[in-house]
Symmetry: C2
Subunit: 373 residues, 2 copies
């Protein structure tokens, strides 16, 4: 079923993308307004499913690349999406018919919808991560072994480069260098041919982000609504009692400790983070780990809280849910499992349906999903 | 007159290129052997003059970009020149007919001759600097206002990028970032169309480097022979009594002090350097400054000594001579005059014919050009 995204959908898209950002992916504040503007100006965009792609279609995969904090102040220029489209089409020798977000999580899940409107292209209802990850190598296309033919990078002043790299690791290295030289933020695009798409993207994530966003925005009790929509477990609801956070090697690293309140009192949880939330621990035991999704939300509003905005005293709920099966393959875990982030632990798939996450087990009344303070 | 460069010319080319390196431009040791090998394997290259270029000719301007010290150990791969040629021709939509060195000074004046042999192209008897300079902005094509259409960069492992930048300053910034990400060394190429060449290159510099190299290699007394061939003044012959050198902001910076010996006794000279030799001072007075050329040579052999190899006790002669008139224009001085290197002084053109540089003024017997110890 083909549907449209209008400016009215952007608030929900942004709220949902923030949830899939798992603490990273960049604040959605500015891209939210820019995208709504673009949809008002250029009209709604058509949301196409992967099944609706035909033989000669080429998807242009787009994202901002750099420091999310810079993106809050330094907006893309209106010329950048056009430059990326022109150079990608020229280098690939094909016309693009749809835009896909590299990552649905955070600002990078929102901006591409506005760029598609500006460029007169459809939006593919899919992305390359199903969440947010910090590096260019951590995409479904890489897991599936689709060759990355080329990458076009554009900075805000008008410089553009067309890169062909020998593998994803070198891509990450050269892309990062261009981004830093651009003031720590650039836009990137790469072509993805229709025949390569099946099995190499995470499908349905744009529509899903809008749906999840509505759970945040429309529900009387957002946290249980969100958990239900996501199929997530609420691991704890409580108060942040410690934030240890440092900027190291270009990343935000650290951990945050949450003490349970209400029905969760007497429980303590620690979340380890590196841009994104990576691991949840209780009494030294790993409860959830990347690539499964971990998001801290405001217990009152259900809005996601990004890692750089965590602070002492916030009332938060920790949600965890399963990643796309693609990330649970051997190659998926090689690329984005705990060891890819430097944790010497084996990945144990998280199951939100496990009875231990039922609210009864956590000490609340049976039948109430998640104890919200 | 068209002539050829054979493997027999490479030793002289390397010695001459080192002289024009004015202390920088990279050691010629490894490129000398690589280039002689290429000429033996692929045969001599034709040295074409600017006047011999015709309408549809395209020159491919090539150089190594990065840290000269890395270049001593990390050799280019054989595939790199071919990658640069293929991508430059593809992006420009024209066939290249000749190779030109970006800078004649140092290793970058030697390597392109071997690449031309490998690629089956001619060598243009010209370069973009007439010496060595540290930055991509400091080229004659920039002084002449020729637009740099695109730049192709290739690293040793096989990554390649085609850049279009809005100006030379951004070019330098993005090129440097790619180079650093490549391990601080990459090869670069850009197209220069025949119609843009006149007035936008320094002509005759390849033949001139070979000629100057012969003065070093063949003369019984290399220093006076070199001074005569270059039209240079020998400012002092003496001994290095102090080297203050630090690596700062990606450059070698510092100064070297030379105490005169023999007929130059009682004289003291200081040379300020930043990769290249930039300024010569005596008693606080500036005698010579960039973009005029300053080279320290071994007083015995006449071979140029690069700034990173200067050390206490070396017997050296300091030669200075006039730069190409292009660098003495207002725009030339904006780009590569003393202020471009952070010296708050006005440029005063150096005149090697000034009587004060005659050996009589310097205390030696009249008629003996330069006092060699």
């Amino acid at each position: 079923m083909t549907r449209e995204i209008t400016s009215d959908d952007v608030a929900a898209l942004a709220a949902g993308a923030a949830i899939f950002g798992t603490g990273g992916g960049g604040a959605v504040t500015t891209s939210r307004f820019g995208t709504a503007d673009a949809l008002r100006k250029h009209g709604p965009v058509r949301l196409r499913t992967v099944a609706e792609l035909t033989g000669q279609d080429m998807v242009i995969v787009m994202s901002g690349i750099g420091a999310p904090t810079v993106g809050i102040e330094m907006l893309p220029s209106a010329a950048q999406p056009e430059t990326l489209l022109r150079e990608t089409e020229r280098a690939a020798g094909r016309r693009a018919t749809a835009v896909m977000a590299t990552e649905i999580g955070g600002t990078n899940g929102v901006g591409p919808v506005g760029w598609a409107a500006q460029l007169g292209l459809d939006v593919l209802d899919a992305d390359g991560m199903g969440r947010a990850f910090p590096e260019a190598t951590m995409v479904a296309m890489n897991v599936a072994g689709v060759p990355r033919r080329l990458t076009v990078l554009s900075d805000v002043v008008g410089n553009v480069t067309v890169m062909r790299t020998i593998d994803a690791t070198w891509l990450e290295r050269h892309v990062r260098a261009f981004s830093v030289a651009s003031g720590s933020l650039c836009l990137g695009a790469s072509p993805l041919y229709a025949e390569d798409v099946p099995g190499a993207v995470i499908e349905g994530t744009v529509g899903r982000a809008i749906e999840v966003g509505h759970a945040v925005l429309d529900a009387a009790e957002p946290v249980p609504a969100l958990a239900e929509t996501l199929g997530a477990a609420v691991l704890i609801s409580g108060k942040i009692i410690d934030v240890a956070r440092r900027t190291e090697g270009g990343f935000v690293r650290g951990s945050v400790t949450i003490a349970g309140t209400g029905t969760d009192r007497d429980r303590l949880l620690r979340v380890e983070l590196q841009n994104e939330n990576l691991i949840v621990l209780a009494d030294g035991e790993v409860l959830v780990s990347v690539p499964d999704l971990i998001t801290l939300v405001d217990s009152e509003t259900g809005h996601a809280i990004s890692t750089e905005l965590l602070r002492f005293g916030q009332r938060v709920s920790v949600l965890a849910w399963s990643c796309d099966p693609l990330w649970r393959t051997e190659r998926g875990l090689d690329i984005a499992g705990p060891r890819a982030f430097g944790y010497d632990i084996d990945y144990v798939p998280f199951d939100a349906g496990d009875p231990r996450w039922a609210s009864a087990e956590r000490g609340s009344e049976p039948g109430t999903a998640g104890a919200v303070q």
